[in-house]
Amino acid sequence: MPLLTLIIFLPMIAGAILALTMPTKKMKHAALGVMIVDLLLVLYAAMTFDWSGTFVTEARVFAETIATTFQHREHLPWLPEFGISYTVGADNLSMIFVILTAVLGIIGVLCSWTSIVHREKEFYFFLLALQTGIMGTFLAIDIFLFYMFWELMLIPLYFMIGNWGSKNRIYATMKFVIYTMAGSVVMLVAMIWMYYNNGAYNPQLGVIEYVRSYSYEIMLQTQSGDHGTFQASYFPFLALFIAFAIKVPLFPLHTWLPDAHTEAPTAGSVILAGILLKTGGYAIIRYCIPLFPDASISFAPLITWLSVIAIIYGAMAAIVQTDIKRLVAYSSVSHMGFVTLGIFSFNPAAMSGAILQMINHGISTSGLFLAVGMIYERRHTREFKEFGGLATNLPIFAALTMVMVLSSVGLPGLNGFLGEFNILLGSMQNYPILMQAQDDASWAAAMGMTQYTWLVALGATLGVIFGAVYLLIMYQRVFFGKLDNEKNKGLTDLVPREWGQLAFLAVAALAIGLFPKPIFDAMAPATRTALEPVARVLQMEVKDKGYELAVPGVVIENEEELLALGE
């Protein structure tokens, strides 16, 4: 059974058929049904998935047979003369995000239940098509196919914000599309470059052997040795990274996000914050780091600093917002700064922290956007000053929002803390490439750190405090105090459909916070795969400095062989 293909295309195709055949009133039920079927398929795929990280199989790409770690793999030569194939497959990294996507897809339908009243059919069709784009982005392992799905994500969201958004929606949607398209164009150029330059130097023959293909698996294979042609290629790395960094979004490329989030309908914000931003982080871990380890190491200091700036900057900007939704949007900038910080710390703890942070952000920020949406639906405003004392007549709502706020603040015991904790821990651990610039006898070296990592960790920790400031102020202004605004007195508490969504996210937040071991075990193979190329590069540089391991915790196989090559 072509399981992954079904998971990817079911939402869009079913959506198209339903939009043509269903009566308007029934469309949302049908959409919900499709999302649930999709989730069941994903769960089936997850259950038949080998999470141990030891899975390897022989697979064919066009005429070649290669070893691959991707599971549930499907391969169709699509345009073989151009090296383009339809190849989908899942590993631990993509599987985690696919599950998140399927779950948030259902929430996306539920939160639109009563808030979308006009042109329902189109709305739910776009929501389902968006789901297809996202699933495809996570599951494609041919970079051309990846590009197609990456662009496919954009179109439904363009219509969703443009049609069903609030008053400044046209500006927001244009900004969002132009920003993302600009990134996509450079990404496409980089991908064509990768197609033409994919190969490895053959020492026996003394020539570079090129493989003309867009297959990610083939690229991994040709670039995995020490003769890959992508070494020292800064341009394609940067082009890819900028495209992904716009999606993350990394400071200073973030300015589309507050507008897009604020103007989007609730479902748009939830999917945008919950999943779309993650495609950026996912793509960095998937493509930038393993294919361009040299460039990644070279740019790591810059990206790390930008991440730290994003963390503090996002928090500071959030403090001065007066619109609840904008505040949550800026908190996204701050939280996603942790993700890039974790990824570019090149350390298993930080990398798993970054993946977890993305999941956490998917839970807590989606929850906050849901909450904002529920308020907005009742009062049609999102200004702080209109609210106060809502805890009095909406106690369930207040309690569930509290859990989301605390998860976002990073309270220990809930999920948010573990992601930030691991990222901070990992970013402190010294990576020797940065030591080169430092004097090893410095006071920071005694801490097992460089002065650089020390500053980074300190800056990031400040972000943790600020996070508590703005979210608590927001919460207290809205829920605490006297219920003195006449317009708020008649508000009714959540109905089961509404609190069900929030309660589900709250339970997920608690579960990850209290029992993190399974999820860390599931992430471990993904972090290993992503970091091994970087570890190989670093290992050669640090061996003579007397360090045991370049990247703590990542053991490189065939190390003697590697060192022999290096000399």
Partner: protein, 608 residues
């Protein structure tokens, strides 16, 4: 029984009670109340069974492994956690009983009791924690419970502001704690407390003294936040906005003591750094003096007690830093008992008179509430350090440990702080029992109900007999009982008596001015009544600084980054508009430009 199972029962019963009450009993107040009290009772029985079982091996399981790091979840059963765990469970239960009476008329009773359950879980989880990260998690959860309970009456803006202030100030300290823990894990690769404390293979053998100083001072930041030491102390007086039983439980007896507990828990690490010891001593003694001077001019009954808590916590920290482990822990436990007593008495008055002003309580006949007044006097005498009450023994140990450690200046200052403590405590007592005008024959003044008086009487007896625990406590902590001659105790006793006498001279005797001796120096009086201007400085510097910085950054966002992107878009639009003009439909122009292009092309090609 296996102590780990017992510990799970002790810690998690309150959580189960909390969750059940929160989820199913929002309307059924009585059931919720019963659940929480039942959970509290189970915890008390379990904690005392653990205590009777004596110290045993720690037990833990792997909770999280990432990279090469393993973090564990488990319980420590040494004298420190067993003794303090029993005290925490007991006082939590007593306060829950007391709250039945105190919160009788509150419509949100269920939420209140449920939060007490949440607090019990978090606090007990912290006390028995075996891993630094586990301790941190429960430490933060304790802070969360405190946040909710301070802001329990969230309709009051002052209450919700106080809750936020408490959360943020403790969190500033916790950032230091978090960095410290991260660094410890980074250096040693572990967070298991017994392994870190090990004299042969622990943290002290891995790092130089300078590094260790930095590590323990970072941890001390967390302690300063939680145990309200200068300069992070300002949240505690504000926290008195919460219901009085909460003040008794969290903000004097147990939660704020968590910082001191952590200090005692990591005592060997602090002892390995001379600099850290000096820093802690200086901060502690300054906090003790400062809080005592503020309490001298405060008229809000609860705030006087709050400042006295800050001072007594400083005493504990000073004793621990001077090496007096037994002294610090003894004062920790006994202070929990008599300070809870004082707060419960204060609550009894406040419940009846509905005011926090102790002068007014005295004028309206506070002393007619006989049992409460007896508790207040005995608790106050204990706080002042009068023999033979509990506070006398522990304060005596604290002072002795300071002089044994050779810190004579600190010892002298501590004696002075003890004198001030006795002074302001009896100022409070005299305001209530000897009001400045004769009482009217008001028949409505009567003592509180038995559920309120029960815990008060229990704690009064415990305060009287508290000194007896010295021997058993030393035994369970595996420490020696020090013997002091009467002569060495004399300074402390004299200071306490002098404090009481001066208080009587200023406030008690019939011709007293009731202004206090600081009233004679207006500068000092203003300094003390403005609380040493700490809050004003915070307001002026930090709050404004953050607001300014945020505004500046916001301008960067709107004008520079976002504006820049919009200008870029404008350029594109403008270029587009300009090029569009080329498509003018004017045929002559097309032909002319065609001719020019062909001519230029011909010229360049021909010149090749």
């Amino acid at each position: 029984m296996n102590p780990a199972i017992l510990a799970i029962v002790v810690i998690f019963t309150p959580l189960v009670a909390f969750a059940t009450a929160m989820l199913f009993c929002m309307k059924a107040h009585r059931i919720a109340q019963g659940l929480i009290l039942g959970g509290g009772a189970v915890s008390v029985v379990g904690a005392f069974l653990l205590l009777l079982g004596g110290p045993s091996e720690t037990q833990s399981i792997v909770w999280l492994s990432s990279g090469s790091l393993e973090l564990s979840f488990g319980f420590m059963f040494d004298g420190l956690s067993l003794s303090f765990g029993a005290v925490v469970a007991l006082i939590t239960f007593l306060v829950q009983v007391y709250s039945i009476g105190y919160m009788h008329h509150d419509p949100a009773k269920t939420r209140y009791f449920a939060l007490l359950g949440l607090f019990g879980w978090a606090m007990l989880g912290f006390v028995y924690a075996v891993d630094l990260l586990q301790a941190l998690i429960f430490w933060e959860l304790v802070g969360l419970a405190s946040f909710f309970l301070i802001g329990f009456w969230y309709e009051k803006p002052s209450a919700s502001a106080a809750a936020r202030k408490a959360f943020l100030l403790t969190r500033i300290g916790d950032t230091g704690l978090l960095i410290g823990i991260l660094l410890i894990i980074n250096i040693s690769g572990m967070a298991h407390i017994p392994a870190l404390l090990d004299a042969e293979t622990g943290l002290t053998t891995m790092v130089s003294e300078g590094t260790l100083t930095l590590l323990v001072l970072l941890i001390f930041m967390g302690i300063m936040g939680k145990s309200a030491q200068f300069p992070l102390h300002t949240w505690l007086p504000d926290a008195m906005e919460g219901p009085t039983p909460v003040s008794a439980l969290l903000h004097s007896a147990t939660m704020v003591a968590a910082g001191v507990f952590l200090f005692a828990r990591l005592h060997p690490l602090f002892m390995a750094s001379e600099t850290a010891i000096l820093v802690v001593l200086c901060i502690a003694i300054f906090t003790a003096l400062m809080s005592a001077t503020i309490a001298m001019v405060e008229t809000d009954l609860k705030k006087v007690l709050a400042y006295s808590s800050i001072g007594q916590l400083a005493f504990m920290l000073a004793a621990l830093a001077a090496g007096g482990l037994l002294a610090g822990i003894l004062h920790l436990i006994l202070h929990a008992v008599f300070k809870a007593l004082l707060f419960l008495c204060a609550g009894s008055y406040i419940h009846h008179f509905e005011t926090n002003d102790m002068r007014e309580i005295g004028r309206r006949g506070g002393r007619r509430m006989r049992w409460t007044t007896a508790g207040l006097v005995i608790g106050g005498a204990s706080l002042a350090g009068l023999p033979p009450l509990a506070g006398f023994f522990s304060k005596e140990e604290v002072l002795a440990s300071l002089s044994h450690g050779g810190y004579h200046l600190i010892w002298f200052l501590a004696l002075f702080a003890a004198f001030l403590t006795a002074y302001y405590t009896f100022r409070m007592v005299f305001f209530i029992i000897l009001p400045d005008r004769p009482l009217e024959a008001d028949a409505t003044v009567h003592d509180s109900s038995p559920v309120i008086l029960g815990p008060i009487i229990f704690l009064t007896i415990a305060t009287v007999l508290g000194g007896l625990i010295l021997g058993p406590l030393a035994a369970i902590l595996l420490l020696d009982v020090p013997h002091h001659s009467l002569l060495s105790m004399l300074p402390a006793i004299l200071c306490a008596l002098a404090g009481v006498f001066v208080a009587w001279w200023d406030f008690g005797r019939s011709r007293a001015t009731r202004r206090g001796f600081v009233g004679a120096v207006p500068v000092l009086h203003r300094l003390f009544s403005r609380k040493w201007y700490v809050d004003d400085v915070y307001q002026a510097v930090f709050a404004r600084f953050i607001q300014l910085m945020a505004t500046v950054l916001h301008r960067v966002e709107v004008d520079l980054l976002d504006g820049g992107a919009d200008r870029l878009a404008d350029v594109t639009r403008w270029t587009g508009g300009w090029t569009a003009r080329l498509q003018s439909g004017w045929v002559q122009a097309y032909i002319a430009s065609g001719v020019v292009v062909v001519a230029l092309a011909g010229y360049f090609l021909g010149s090749r």
